[in-house]
Assembly symmetry: C2
Homo-oligomer: 197 residues x 2
DNA sequence: GTAGAATCGGAGAGCTCTCTCCGTTTGTCC
DNA sequence: GGACAAACGGAGAGAGCTCTCCGATTCTAC
């Protein structure tokens, strides 16, 4: 996806270098500014004409996906790896906290897991996309197992948890203080834990 | 604020009628579409030229504030009224749930309590505004009292709770299912409750 | 009914954003 | 070094937005 130099002839050396640079700058720009950053601005920061950037990535979304999809896939893979962990509760809470923590450090990841900010483009995780389904399914499996083990309230659905995740990330993006998401996740996790009384 | 017919001569009858209609349509539009709705669109829905709407409200923000500030003030007043309630925990959790519930039914209120969505204009609750301070202070007092009464975890700050509030509203705006915010608030409140173990 | 003030309507200025087009520059291969 | 394809740069088209301006219309007072 975005790798249009796989089948056809290889890119010219300068073009490949420039493509890498665009990706790197876009990565930084997305992390600090989120999905609302403009294409022009990324080109400017990278020191290229906007036409050059479009040559490598045909749309704004294509560039953003090239930068971000891999990150989400990692979350899905992590969840799958934890699907047989010994302590199901620990696996679930740990995964949740890790996703929040990593996304909190990256505006664009927040925007993306947040369902695509109203403002920015819909990237990657729009409802119905394969990746969104995978993410939801992976989360659902971890949750179900933790519930069966009695570690998480039985009345929570996967969608509830996804909403809670979004909520945590919102805190990070909006709050005046950094670290809001992680703090919030703590409270959330307490709320999710199965009551013993 | 927006009431420019208070001191000077009264508005002509048709103008007053039109002003009311603009407010009503804007109210509906904001509730359903949030702060990102365009001024042109509101004028179109109301059946007026855009110039007419600008005659009554000099900027987009002025119109939005005319519609929304009263709602926030109500929340602040409610909190003040509860400041001497018998059951401090009940007062706090009840107020929190009520704010979430009401805001959840109104996109623009969500956007606003959310600190002004990145996209839309900053309306009313921008940090440092009097209303934002009032809101924060009212929330802080309810919280402190509930904590003194042992009903809420002692380690939560007012900012934490404001973040949690934002998080709930995010769920409402982004989730595919309506009612996400209220659901989330339940989990939150459980997480906020002081541990008895 | 009429004069004159108040109000309305909407074209358009000016901005930002995405994306295209094509003349200019650069890399590659001989 | 020269020829030619590949890649670059950035002006500008086109769309959407906020807000202004002023001729056309409507209300009100007499």
């Amino acid at each position: 996806m975005g790798d249009d130099h796989s089948a056809a002839r290889p890119l010219r050396a300068d073009a490949r270098r420039n493509r890498e640079r665009v990706l790197q700058i876009a990565q930084e720009a997305l992390a600090s500014d989120g999905l609302t950053i403009s294409f022009d601005e990324i080109a400017r920061r990278a020191g290229f004409g906007v036409g050059t950037v479009y040559r490598h990535f045909p749309t704004k979304e294509a560039l953003f996906e090239a930068v971000l999809l891999g990150r989400i896939e990692r979350f899905v893979a992590d969840a799958r790896a934890l699907a047989t962990a010994e302590d199901a509760g620990r696996a679930f809470f740990g995964w949740f906290a890790r996703v929040v923590e990593q996304a909190a450090a990256n505006q664009a990841l927040c925007d993306m897991l947040d369902g695509g900010s109203q403002a920015g483009p819909q990237v990657g995780l729009r409802p119905g996309s394969t990746l969104a389904d995978d993410f939801g399914a992976a989360l659902g499996r971890l949750l179900a197992r933790a519930q069966r083990a009695g570690a998480v309230r039985a009345d929570l659905t996967g969608r509830d948890v996804h909403d809670l995740l979004r909520g945590c990330l919102t805190a990070e993006r909006r709050s005046l203080a950094r670290g809001g998401a992680v703090r919030m996740a703590e409270v959330f996790c307490d709320g999710m834990r199965a009551r013993t009384y």
